[in-house]
Symmetry: C2
């Protein structure tokens, strides 16, 4: 089993690498080699590792992928929402053009292979939009509110079509905000969701850009990576031909998160938090409705279990 | 008002040209010039006509479109479903790449213009899929069963995103099978819907590849072209940000059609029809459910009114 990871140098890519190092198995098969693709790949050397440094928009990178011939691809590379909105072409080249080029390149393999290459595609809950019903279901109409989400949705459709043609075996997972990355930097509006966990673990003051009641969908990077690996082996007999599912999530308010941090790190943590809601942030990250993720759970995908497990796992402190 | 028509040499493009010749008005404004784009444009010369012969996938064609600077574009050019399914790249180049390139080229105009260029995009009921509920509504999930429909759906999403960015003012209409084209030739499975009308008007025998009960969505080319023109001027204040609507349709069985032809051309017509259902044709063109086209009608889009009006208009015999 040969595995390819695009965006391997990113936050989720790094955790996925770690998961596959600890347990080198995908879809019940031993992982013999992992090719890592990213613009920068620090520390990517290692046994059974192939580092492909470069941009996915570069045809030379696609050629090296073709030479590697992955059985399973985890496609994580992408330009984030803020950057895609600010510069249409930058977003289009990676989130649309390079993704389609990757799908086509992998589909070429199909010709002389026993089965279609598996593609686990990291999409986003940004495909849903901000005008949502009280319960988001599998059939809820998607209204991506940004070009980022529109291009992700487009690639979900393209992957489903390659799967229908039996040229790829696609599995799209829609990722919520994943915690807890370190210093995501400006431009990632959801960064506060990671920042609050690090701040309260470290015992430093934190200013929340949302209210105490702000409700969002939460998942640790570790659980996210485990779900991605699981997705590669899911039995899709009779499944929705759209082949796109949200990750199961814990729907928690900021109050829930702060209380959980107090439970984990000490009751003094509560007094470290000041709430200074910013309306635009609250609108996007404060009003997540209920997610009916039963179809995702039926496929064996998991959330973090409890708020405490989420917080500890997000910070790499799990037992 | 400068108008561009892609696929102008095709069946619907020709009828649209005729409609705009009879009444040169779009969105309440006088049409000063019409640019026609197609690979072959017989008889395209005329006052206020600009013929751009060439393929939309050719950058030289896009440059001539940029020079023309249309206020309103009717984007009809496309590779049909059968051809797109048989040769993925042929379909992708026109239905996906060239369509996106056209959208981007027109969006460039926005920079030094008072308002976003209007794009009326001819999509297809092939975005819906074949596993439909008894009533198809605006929020019914789309499951394009062919690459043709997948690429059309993708471009609907891209056009909605350009519209949200206020770079284009997009209006997608999903076209049903349009009648009555002459000798569509092999590859167009829905050709029988046109053929039956010509055969019974001409008084020649006709073999139907579907059953008497086969129910489909019907619209004349004339009404289709009128709806396209109407769409350019629709007031979309408060409308669905997806900006895609089905054309209103008459849902008729083959029996309805044959009876209507008998009414129009003589009762002997009924005996000219033999039913030899082909399961694959019946599956796609024989089981259309009810279409809840209330949102389309609310925008002023129209069906043909009555089966008799449909038949006469489809054959160019309207009063």
């Amino acid at each position: 089993m040969k595995v390819l990871i695009t965006g391997a140098g990113g936050y989720i890519g790094s955790v996925l690498q770690a998961v596959l190092t600890q347990r080198p198995e995908v879809a019940g098969q031993r992982v013999d080699a992992i090719a890592l693709v990213d613009r920068v790949l620090p520390g990517a050397a290692g046994p059974r590792r192939v580092a492909i440094e470069g941009d996915l928009t570069d045809s030379a990178v696609l050629e090296r992928i073709a030479d590697f011939r992955p059985d399973t691809t985890f496609h994580l590379a992408g330009v984030p929402g803020g950057a895609s909105e600010a510069d249409y072409l930058v977003g289009r080249r990676t989130n649309l053009d390079a993704t389609l080029a990757l799908f086509e390149q992998l589909a070429q393999q199909r010709r002389d292979a026993d089965r279609a290459p598996v593609v686990v595609y990291a999409s986003t809950i940004a495909v849903y939009g901000t005008r949502l019903p009280p319960v988001v279901k599998q059939e809820t109409p998607l209204q991506p509110p940004l070009t980022y989400g529109a291009h992700k949705r487009v690639c979900e459709i393209l992957l489903a079509d390659f799967s229908r043609r039996n040229e790829l075996d696609g599995r799209t997972l829609r990722l919520p905000g994943i915690v807890a990355r370190r210093s995501a930097g400006p431009g990632l509006t959801s960064a506060f969701m990671s920042d609050v966990l690090h701040a309260l673990a470290d015992g430093v003051p934190f200013e929340a850009p949302v209210s105490e009641e702000a409700t969002a969908w939460w998942m640790s990077a570790r659980r996210c990576a485990e779900n991605l690996v699981h997705a590669a082996g899911m039995d899709l007999t009779g499944a929705d031909p759209g082949r796109a599912w949200p990750m199961p999530v814990l729907r928690l308010s900021m109050r829930d998160i702060v209380n959980t941090c107090a439970e984990a790190f000490g009751p003094d943590r509560k007094s470290l938090v000041a709430y200074r809601p910013i309306e635009s942030v609250e609108a996007v990250f404060g009003r997540y409705p209920v997610l009916d993720d039963a179809p995702s759970r039926a496929l064996g995908l998991l959330d973090d279990g409890t708020p405490l497990a989420l917080v500890l796992r997000a910070l790499g402190r799990e037992a």
